[in-house]
């Protein structure tokens, strides 16, 4: 086996080792990465900026712990921006492993801004079968969620007075790591014409450009990069602070940069091996 054939048949454990080292070294020695804020992220930021105190924004948090590295920063940044502007939040969770995620965000951020449950925010909780739940919420939030996450009847919460269904919220932002996004687009926007924006993982981002172009969603935050763009905008306007360690997506950008470079390098090496082996074989 010549050098190029050995290169093509490289044991995958060497690849794992290189990736591991690159990630660790970059984490220890980070650097600043220049960011370009895309229009689809800016449109969500600008929309929330245009909201008035007392307006209600709904956030559908549909992800589990495994994607929190990509999606948690978005949820934090949006919640902080809303609470700073005294915009009220209505949260729900349609992923069975997600209730703890929402609880983590809302309990932390509400303490930072002295927001009161039931007055400044309501957390509806989790219900299975997301499609059915979204359809039911479009009729009345109380159908799938007669009580909030903490067991309080919705009708006894001051914030829920006058909040019946999607017609009464300014917009919905769905932050999802799975197929829940399609259900929000099909049902919340498709059936009830709710104003919708989404935040998804990096791998899902490219799937939703058609919906952005058709106007079914008005904004798209894609993966860690999108989250870091949002954090960049929020930091500029003082909603989040680097000193308080609130830029969790932005500080992972150097790691993403170096690991992407390594993957590109591996692809190039693999192709060099492929072409050189092919050349040798054709000579023989």
């Amino acid at each position: 086996m010549n050098f190029y054939e050995r290169m093509m048949n490289l044991d995958r454990r060497w690849i794992y080792l290189v990736i591991g080292l690159v990630v660790v070294i970059t984490a220890i020695f980070p650097f600043d990465v220049p960011l370009y804020v895309t229009p689809e992220v800016r449109s969500i930021y600008d929309y929330i900026e245009s909201l008035n105190p007392g307006d209600v924004l709904m956030i559908g948090v549909d992800y589990a712990p495994e994607v929190m590295a990509e999606l948690h920063p978005m949820t934090y940044a949006i919640s902080r921006q809303c609470f700073k502007k005294d915009v009220k939040l209505l949260l729900c969770c349609l992923h069975q492993n997600g209730p703890g995620m929402v609880e983590q965000v809302i309990s932390q951020v509400s303490k930072e801004y002295n927001k009161i449950n039931g007055v400044d925010y309501v957390y509806l909780g989790y219900k299975p079968y997301p499609g059915i739940t979204i359809l039911a919420m479009g009729q009345n939030f109380r159908i799938p969620f007669p009580e909030d996450y903490y067991g309080t009847p919705l009708d006894s919460l001051p914030m829920m007075r006058g909040l019946t269904n999607f017609d009464n919220v300014k917009a919905i932002i769905n932050i999802s790591g799975g197929s829940g996004t399609e259900l929000w687009i099909n049902f919340a926007n498709g059936r009830y014409n709710a104003k919708l924006a989404i935040g998804v993982t990096g791998v899902m981002t490219s799937d939703y450009y058609p919906f952005l172009q058709s106007g079914q969603i008005f904004g798209l935050i894609g993966g860690m990069k999108g989250a870091s763009e949002y954090e960049y905008l929020a930091e500029k306007d003082g909603y989040i602070s680097r000193a308080k360690n609130q830029l969790s997506a932005y500080k992972t950008m150097p790691i993403q940069t170096t690991s992407h470079l390594v993957v590109i390098l591996f692809i190039v090496l693999g192709n060099i091996g492929f072409f050189m082996s092919k050349k040798k074989k054709s000579r023989i």
């Binding site: 995958r12 450009y209 390594v262 591996f266």
Partner: protein
């Protein structure tokens, strides 16, 4: 009867839901909400069915001491333990600071994050193994992937060109291709739904 009743239910409820979409009348709306409520109830009972299957299969593996029975024992023990922890008196299991949430935050979340982080390693090895410029189309695919990945890399004066290219790829050819996929998948979903409504597709019911 074993097949007639489920078929009648599927067809009846299916056609009602189809008709209901086009009829805005209040009575149809109420019936629709009633069906939604029942779907949620059935889903909850289905979870019990899953618990039963999980327990039965793993207990059987432990009893017969099949290879890997230790993992089955851990699975059952973990399930029972978490169930019991959720019922600790004086604690609201879903509230931050409860034992249940501590186990969720400090055991479950790190384990899930670890599994997900395997993807970083696997994508590198899959890319190294599979991304070969064998044909013209494969080369175009490869170059597009590299341009998109380079969005994050500071390339100095080339950054702006790369950003523009990446944006173009995402918003024009990618969007066109994805739109074609969605249309094809949408038609496939419509066709399969029609087959189920008309009783042509019955494999999910099994056979006598």
């Amino acid at each position: 009867m074993r097949r007639t009743l489920p078929f009648a239910l599927v067809t009846g409820v299916g056609f009602f839901m189809l008709v209901q979409y086009f009829v805005p009348k209040e009575e149809f709306e109420i019936a629709y909400e009633w069906i939604l409520d029942w779907t949620i109830v059935i889903g909850c009972f289905a979870m019990l069915l899953g618990l039963w299957s999980l327990t039965r299969v793993n207990i059987s593996k432990v009893q017969r001491k099949t290879p890997g029975w230790g993992y089955s024992l851990i699975a059952i023990a973990g399930m029972v333990f978490m169930l019991l922890v959720g019922f600790i008196p004086g604690q609201k299991s879903l509230e931050r600071g409860s034992t249940f949430m501590l186990l969720f935050e400090y055991i479950y979340i790190p384990i899930q994050a670890t599994m997900f982080s395997l993807l970083a390693f696997y994508i590198a090895s899959a890319a190294y193994r599979a991304f070969r410029a064998r044909t013209v189309l494969a080369t175009i695919l490869l170059l597009s992937a590299i341009i998109i990945m380079l969005r994050l890399v500071p390339l100095g004066p080339l950054s702006e060109i790369n950003q523009w290219l990446a944006n173009f790829i995402l918003t024009v050819p990618n969007m066109a291709a994805k739109r074609a996929f969605w249309i094809g998948v949408g038609l496939g979903v419509t066709a399969t739904s029609l087959k189920i409504l008309l009783g042509i597709e019955r494999t999910y019911m099994g056979r006598d």
